[in-house]
Symmetry: C2
Subunit: 121 residues, 2 copies
């Protein structure tokens, strides 16, 4: 296995679609992903996976049941397993995710936005 | 458990010492850490843990046995378990780490730089 560096901006330049996480690294059974978000996602939760969102560019709102959290560039949030959440972005936001390789973007919710097997880029 | 966001710059403003990783988040048995590096570390490897380095500010050189990789802001590298490596930074570099909670910074190497129980900040 060749150890190489990954440039996040370069990876984010490879696609333009929203709500479609791409895998850019794997370690300890976890995936590192990048994704572009714009608009509203679906309310969902992950039964067995905690999920990490780091904003690389733009502003991301994460709605929780009782309140919302707004994240700017250089801010992250960890959504614990079993916590209902709904990401929303008025303008396009670029995000890095850490989550177990088993994680499906829509969690337990059935949705056309589901990405079963994210692509490696 | 209250779900709150973390601002990386704010966390990095809380300490100034080098080679002392601080924990800023936990998910799926993994820790998210921030660290400031300057100078040369010790050659080491982790037997059971893959390690993720993301440069937030500055330039980081990771020496591997056969070559070196230089990382700038917005670039990451994953060092697979069992891979000898030695981080080096001519000027201070700010880094985010993602690794299993069990990871010790100096791996299998005995060194005065060892941090047994990193502090949460």
């Amino acid at each position: 296995m060749v150890v190489t560096k990954v440039n996040l901006e370069e990876k984010l330049g490879k696609f333009s679609e929203h709500w479609t996480p791409k895998i850019v690294g794997e370690l300890n059974g976890q995936h590192v992903k990048v994704v572009k978000l714009k608009g509203s996602f679906v309310w969902h939760q992950h039964e067995k996976e905690d999920e990490f969102f780091l904003v690389l560019k733009g502003t991301l709102k994460i709605h929780l049941k009782e309140r919302s959290v707004t994240l700017s560039e250089g801010e992250f949030i960890i959504i614990p397993r079993g916590t209902e959440h709904m990401p929303e972005a008025e303008e396009e936001v670029q995000v890095m995710l850490f989550e177990p390789a088993s994680t499906v973007n829509t969690g337990e919710t059935e949705s056309s936005l589901k990405v079963e097997n994210p692509e490696w880029i």
